[in-house]
């Protein structure tokens, strides 16, 4: 079992308080996933790129902070927990390359123009407090609470998983064909950090998107190629997408008001949002791809 929440702000008030609302939703999903928690926030940055890196050692993060400021001008740094967000005028790819070369031990959490990923093992309510989620503002966010079933409990095994620039994936469920699929993706050049089944789903999307698929095409292919149980939520630069497997044992709820669009594993997370009692609430249909990027669309996302 795991818990998923997603929130898209339609108003400035929700944007300003995005972290506070997502934190409240995430805490409600603590019982579904007490092992670890993670969140992807989307907010405009000061530069051309945002890269989030993580290391358990604060000294290492200090070293990265010093080094990156020497290497590049116009860099802005934000520290949160064991994570460091590097905003710079360089491209995301240039920053990723620099991180991989200079600090191969660092975990590269995310890269893009707007995404920031924070995740950590430990109870979700501790995560919400330790990472001071209430301070964070942004346009939209996805978050996850994990109850591990297939692999170890570590920060690397936690969700969200980056699936490319400004893209990430969270998963509730378990995949049964991940080992074979991972081998195939490794041969195609996709990197994996863990033996986690959800990371294979993320890697699969990364691979399809690198082959020129739209997000919608990649998800349609995922329905064919991924075997197992899943509710996926996929964060995109401008919104998010939701997909449930055709058998749809894993729950999902969508809700909308004039102020926000939300998704969650359960309504009790959505119930934390202002005006939830009068929201339009519905259950996403199995094997149907929902995308939200300012409006609910059947069109192609990302």
């Amino acid at each position: 079992m795991c818990g998923i929440v997603g929130l898209y702000a339609k108003t400035d008030s929700i944007r300003q308080n995005l972290g506070k609302h997502v934190g409240a939703m995430l805490e409600q999903m603590g019982e579904r996933g007490p092992d670890s928690a993670g969140v992807a926030f989307y907010a405009d940055g000061v530069g051309a790129s945002k890269v989030t890196v993580q290391h358990d050692s604060a000294d290492q993060i200090d070293a990265v902070a010093q080094s990156v400021q020497k290497a590049f001008s116009g860099v802005q740094l934000k520290r949160r927990g064991t994570h460091l967000v590097i905003e710079s005028p360089e491209t995301p790819a240039a920053m990723e390359d620099w991180v991989r070369e200079s600090f191969p031990d660092l975990r590269l959490m995310s890269a893009g123009e707007r995404i920031e990923i924070y995740k950590e093992k430990g109870h979700p309510s501790e995560f919400v407090n330790n990472y001071a989620l209430h301070e964070i503002s942004g346009s939209h966010a996805l978050a996850h609470t994990r109850m591990a079933t297939e692999s170890a409990i570590t920060t690397s095994h936690s969700h969200p998983f980056s699936t490319g620039l400004d893209l990430c994936l969270v998963h509730n469920g378990s995949l049964s064909n991940h080992n074979r699929l991972r081998e195939k993706l490794l041969r195609a050049g996709i990197r994996f950090e863990t033996d986690n089944d959800s990371e294979v789903a993320a890697g699969y999307l990364t691979w399809r998107l690198s082959q020129g698929d739209s997000l919608r095409q990649a998800l349609a292919a995922a329905i064919r190629d991924l075997d197992g149980f899943y509710t996926f939520a996929i964060g995109t630069r401008d919104g998010f997408a939701v997909l449930r497997d055709p058998v749809a044992c894993k729950p999902a709820v969508l809700a909308e008001t004039d102020d926000w669009v939300a998704m969650s594993s359960e309504f009790r997370a959505i119930a934390q949002l202002p005006g939830a009692e009068n929201a339009r609430v519905w259950e996403p249909v199995p094997a149907q791809i929902y995308t939200w990027e300012g409006e609910m669309r059947d069109g192609v996302a990302a």
Partner: protein, 224 residues
């Protein structure tokens, strides 16, 4: 009248009251998607729940009349024994699973696996039901005014299914059946009980077991 505001009070206090001998009107506010609201009610309580409920609302209900003004999460009225449960919105998956008796009325849609393994309950859904509904249904009636999803009544035993709309597909050993006078009478009584007067029994088709699978037969091994 007893009132329980679930934003302040634990669900357990409500449920303990419903397990007690004192019956009467109970109003529950701010359900907030909480789990196990009004589970195990015993006796002729009149329960009104305001707000959306989470997992397992009205499970194991015995004799209580439970009205949900909102949507219900997964596992509504699971293993209900008797009484009545009415949801004004939609119900999520496996509504009335394994339920033995009583009446469940859903004004909106019910999701997948509605009435799975039902054992005597009557279910009336004014909207549509999702895939695998009435899977291994043993006894009772499922009335769907709208459409039914894939594999309706797969491996069904003796439950009777009535569908007003389109059936996406029938499951193994489920077939359309003749609507005789006694079936029309049963269906009419269920429509009346659910307060449906904009449809007549002639709008429905009946489905049930072809009775080919539920005694083991080696020739059917590939179908099991």
């Amino acid at each position: 009248m007893n009132t329980f505001d679930l934003s302040d009070n634990p669900v357990r206090e409500l449920n303990q009251h419903l397990h007690g001998a004192v019956t009467g009107k109970v109003v529950v506010s701010n359900a907030g998607g909480k789990h196990s609201v009004a589970v195990g009610a015993t006796g002729a309580h009149e329960v009104e729940i305001n707000g959306n409920v989470g997992y397992y609302c009205a499970g194991m209900n015995c004799d209580a009349n439970i009205q949900v003004n909102g949507h219900a999460g997964p596992g509504l009225a699971e293993n209900m024994m008797s009484g009545r449960v009415h949801v004004s919105g939609n119900a999520s998956q496996y509504c009335a699973a394994t339920a033995h008796g009583g009446l469940v009325v859903i004004d909106g849609d019910a999701s997948s696996r509605c009435g799975i393994s039902m054992k005597g309950v009557d279910i009336v859904v004014k909207g549509s039901v999702g895939h695998m509904s009435a899977f291994m249904a043993q006894k009772g009636h499922l009335v769907v005014c709208g459409d039914a999803g894939e594999a309706l009544g797969d491996s069904i035993y003796e439950a009777q299914l009535y569908v007003g709309g389109k059936v996406e597909s029938l499951g193994a050993d489920c077939e359309e059946k003749e609507m005789r006078a006694e079936h029309k009478e049963t269906l009419q009584s269920l429509l009346d009980a659910a307060g449906i007067n904009d449809m007549t029994v002639d709008d429905f088709k009946r489905y049930g077991s072809a009775r080919k699978l539920y005694h083991f037969n080696i020739d059917n091994a590939s179908s099991y």
